[in-house]
């Protein structure tokens, strides 16, 4: 195949899309949708590592997005930290939390694991929602600005918030894809993927199953956290919904819809679940009926997810 590896191909494809898509944008609103796609895509990529590589399920990853988002809301106000440091702080807290609870949680199998992660997500959500004195409660709180736009203005460059975040989140997405793809090909990645097929088999060939699963869990938590931070900084306002169960489900659906083991699939899944509701608004009351229907149809007829299924079909039809 022309000697181009999947890794290079995926990175190139992503870079081309990020660079060229704006040509088609009729208004600044599309930059906003683009930025949301890239941010959701990043969180979904983290889940590709956890779900696609390691074969573990999570129904609570929005909780980590919540930690990342509120780190950016609270850090500057209470600790006087600059916003960028807060992104790192959120990622560190998320990673640490994932590390601490990961070991006992990841001993659980399939549906038991689903409920445990669900519980973890709900616990994080409840703390954010209930501790109103700190987080503003369900009505949310304002997030300080990143300050990039006023900086650019100083140089005479004027961009809308959506445009700026399109490029920032695009670059972060590429970086995230780079890391995830490298992991895929590394010895650790191969060990990780061997869990997907059979944990018992993996352990008999000397793989520390518990440690590998924990690694995947921590990585995916950090991805979700950075995504949450970006949403908070972009919107400059955050509510507990970012950590809610529905958001966890959305992230997992994006991952699986695109193809759980495919980094490109994460972006495709994110594109569908982010852009589709914007398209479906024309159907008004039938919006949710159609969304549910599309989710079911994709999973029934393209059960490996869009990207792997379509790639296979194209390979078959290609000369």
């Amino acid at each position: 195949m022309n000697g181009i590896s999947v890794r290079t191909a995926t990175l190139l494809a992503l870079a081309v899309i990020i660079l060229l898509a704006p040509v088609l944008f009729p208004s600044s609103f599309y930059y906003r949708v683009g930025a949301l796609i890239f941010i959701n895509g990043l969180a979904a990529m983290g889940l590709v590592v956890l779900v696609g590589y390691a074969g573990q399920v999570s129904l609570g990853h929005a909780g980590f997005s919540g930690i990342g988002a509120y780190a950016c809301a609270l850090g500057p106000v209470h600790l006087g930290l600059p916003p960028l440091v807060c992104v790192a702080l959120g990622a560190a807290v998320s990673g640490l939390l994932a590390f601490l609870v990961g070991r006992p949680i990841l001993r659980l199998k399939a549906h038991y694991l689903a409920v445990a992660t669900l519980g973890l997500g709900i616990l994080i959500y409840m703390v954010i929602n209930n501790e109103g004195w700190l987080t503003g409660g369900p009505d949310g709180m304002t997030v300080p600005s990143l300050g990039v736009r006023s900086l650019l203005k100083g140089y005479g460059i004027k961009v809308t918030s959506s445009e700026m975040w399109y490029w920032i989140s695009g670059v972060v997405l590429l970086a995230g894809a780079f890391v995830a793809l490298n992991l895929h090909n590394s010895p650790a990645g191969r060990a990780l993927r061997s869990l997907h097929d059979s944990e018992v088999a993996a352990s008999t060939i000397g793989i520390d199953v518990a440690r590998m699963k924990l690694t995947a869990f921590v990585i995916s938590a950090v991805y979700a956290s950075v995504a949450g931070s970006q949403v908070a900084l972009m919107n400059r306002f955050v509510t507990p919904d970012v950590a809610g169960f529905m958001h966890s489900v959305e992230l997992l659906t994006m991952t699986v819809l695109g193809g759980a083991a495919s980094v490109l699939g994460a972006v495709v899944g994110a594109t569908i679940l982010t852009a589709l509701p914007q398209v479906l608004t024309v159907f008004e009351d039938f919006e949710h009926v159609l969304l549910g229907l599309i989710m079911m149809l994709v999973m029934i007829f393209l059960r490996e997810g869009l990207v792997p299924s379509l790639a296979r079909r194209m390979r078959r039809s290609a000369p």
Binding site: H111, Y112, M295
Partner: protein, 290 residues
């Protein structure tokens, strides 16, 4: 003492609702290995269809039976149209399919019915019964009775009837079940129909106390799922005990510790139990086949 009794009554009532949802969960799980996140929507359909049939002038009992039958059909349709064609897909894919079904049914209810809250009359009136200084509504007794009845019926079905054993055999090893001449497809259909019926029954019984609307399903599904897992996904007894426990923990936490964190305490207990007993309180561990 009367305080404790009041918390106990509240916990058992709410816990019975969760138990009915949990029983529905394990019915489908036992037969197909699928966790059906649309289980809460069965409960919603039970309540909403009863309300709208009843408001159209049909007697309450007939409306309830009609609602349960329609929900059964929805359950069968879910199996035939969505779960069946996706057989063999991964656990996560199946979860996404049932979540899609739940969004679909909720969206449909919002279009077909409405987005208002609804209630229909209690079966035996609303005069509270006083016991030891605490009170309980007659409808709560119906809910508790419904959960116990559903549990008993399922227990007898699985352990004392040939059909019930055939369902369990299908769940255990589908190929082996087919080899001994069990119509596994029929067993699957039966399980979905029964599960939907149990869910709808829950909806019919709880609506006079808890009210219903197009979007009551999600919370119920989460709590019922948690209850089923706490009990150890599999046995009807586990589902009943798990559901009741979640309800009791919530009520006792609200009464004695903090109402703000009662849901949190329920999930903390579930997490702790799972850390010690990875297969829930009454579940058996399954060996992984390589």
């Amino acid at each position: 003492m009367s305080e404790f009794l009041q918390f106990l009554f509240s916990g058992i009532t709410v816990g019975s609702v969760y138990a009915l949802v949990a029983l529905g969960f394990i019915l489908i799980f036992n037969a197909s290995g699928v966790v059906n996140f649309a289980q809460g929507e069965f409960v919603m359909l039970g309540g909403m269809i009863t309300y709208f049939t009843y408001s159209a002038g049909v007697p309450l009992a007939a409306a309830a039976v009609f609602a349960i039958l329609v929900t059964c059909l929805a359950g069968v349709a879910l199996n035939k149209l969505a779960i069946g064609p996706a057989r063999g897909a991964s656990v996560v894919s199946l979860i996404i399919i049932t979540i899609g079904a739940s969004i679909f049914l909720r969206g449909l209810a919002q279009v077909v019915f409405d987005k208002q809250l609804h209630r229909f009359p209690s079966i035996s009136g609303d005069d509270p019964i006083s016991i030891g200084g605490a009170t309980i509504l007659p409808q709560s007794l119906w809910i508790i009775g419904g959960a116990l009845g559903a549990f008993l019926a399922l227990y007898l079905f699985f352990s004392h009837t040939l059909t019930g054993k055939a369902v369990l055999a299908t769940a255990n090893n589908k190929l082996a079940a087919q080899l001994v001449g069990i119509g596994t497809n029929n067993m699957m259909t039966l399980s979905f129909a029964l599960s939907a019926a149990v869910g709808a029954l829950g909806g019919v019984l709880m609506t006079p106390v808890t009210l219903t609307s197009y979007d009551v399903g999600l919370t119920l599904a989460l709590k019922g799922f948690a209850g089923a897992i706490l009990g150890g996904m599999g046995s009807p007894f586990g589902a009943l005990a798990g559901g009741l426990l979640v309800g009791l923990i919530e009520a006792m936490t609200a009464g004695y510790i903090s109402s703000e964190y009662k849901d949190a305490v329920a999930f903390i207990v579930i997490l702790l139990v799972l850390f010690v007993m990875p297969n829930g309180l009454f579940g058996r561990s399954a060996l992984e086949r390589v």
